[in-house]
């Protein structure tokens, strides 16, 4: 099992390049997902608070 893991991480001597490429892709795409979800959330809070304010002004 440990042998399999070391050879898997080593990737025939190209481990740094291969894991670098996969790791960087994961990092960039996950950051983009988090940023997009936060953007949606903040836009919803802004809209919600403005609607609340408008309701209060009417009453």
């Amino acid at each position: 099992m440990l042998d399999f893991l070391t050879s898997f991480m080593n990737m025939g001597g190209y481990g740094y390049y291969i894991w670098g490429a996969f790791g960087l892709s994961a990092f960039v795409l996950i950051t983009l997902i988090i940023q997009s979800l936060k953007f949606l959330e903040s836009s919803e809070t802004q809209l919600h608070s403005l609607k609340e304010k408008e309701k209060n002004n009417e009453t």
Partner: protein, 241 residues
């Protein structure tokens, strides 16, 4: 059909339904694709294990071009029919496309070093891809450069349409010039010349990246529509007071 979904309310209803579906497709395809890419597929006879970089490099490059064409097409729609939603789709696509372009360049560099012996060469394919990255950055900067949002949107739309000339240059750069980059081996007239054992993870990752794009697009367009509503309400408020 285009007119039907051009209504922002119908669009919102549709995207909120499609959002979880695209998320699941993206997660499933990328998850399965990663298993095939890293475990199930064989090493290449020439490039040995480094061929695995292809599974994150090629789909990213495809999406980089797909996103750019999407921006140019919706920009054309926005300029001709003045439709707000078309601008929002283009604006929301830009950061996603820029990320894919960055990943295509960076993973290509990580592949180039062990195979070509250089992180970067000024080759036609690489240079045209770098220009694509700058086009994305230019689009994003221009869109936000004006106080009047609609002027920024127009200027950015024109830039994106002019820049679309770069897309066929990227695609055919490997045929028109002598390059280090290998020629097309999947999207070609006589069908792909990649063995099924390598085509499976490549296609799974491509489907996953495409679904990921739509998931992110739906999230970002919904956010932009909210922001538009906020802006309209604030203008109304200042007018009534």
């Amino acid at each position: 059909m285009f007119n039907y979904f051009a209504n922002p309310f119908r669009f919102l209803r549709l995207t909120s339904k499609l959002q979880p579906i695209t998320m699941l497709v993206a997660l499933a395809a990328i998850g399965l694709g990663l298993f095939y890419a890293l475990v199930e597929s064989p090493p290449d006879y020439q490039q040995s294990e480094t061929v695995r970089i292809m599974y994150v490099h090629v789909p990213a490059a495809w999406m980089a071009m797909f996103c750019y064409v999407t921006i140019a097409c919706s920009s054309a729609v926005a300029l001709i029919w003045r439709h707000m939603l078309a601008n929002i789709i283009a604006k929301s696509t830009a950061p996603i496309g820029a990320s894919f372009t960055f990943l295509a360049l960076a993973t290509g560099s990580l592949w180039g070093k062990p195979m070509w012996g250089a992180w970067w060469v000024w080759d036609a394919r690489l240079t045209s891809m770098l220009i694509l990255f700058f086009l994305y950055l230019g689009y994003i900067v221009l869109y936000n450069a004006f106080d009047d949002q609609s002027r920024g949107a127009r200027a950015a739309a024109i830039l994106s349409i002019v820049g679309v000339i770069n897309i066929p240059i990227i695609k055919f750069s490997v045929d028109w010039w002598n390059t280090l980059h290998q020629p097309a081996s999947v999207i070609k007239i006589n069908g792909p010349t990649v063995h099924p054992s390598m085509l499976t993870p490549l296609m799974l990752m491509a489907v996953g990246y495409m679904a990921l794009y739509f998931w992110l697009l739906f999230i970002r367009t919904r956010a932009e529509l909210n922001i538009n509503k906020v802006r309209k309400m604030l203008i109304q408020q200042t007018e009534t007071h």
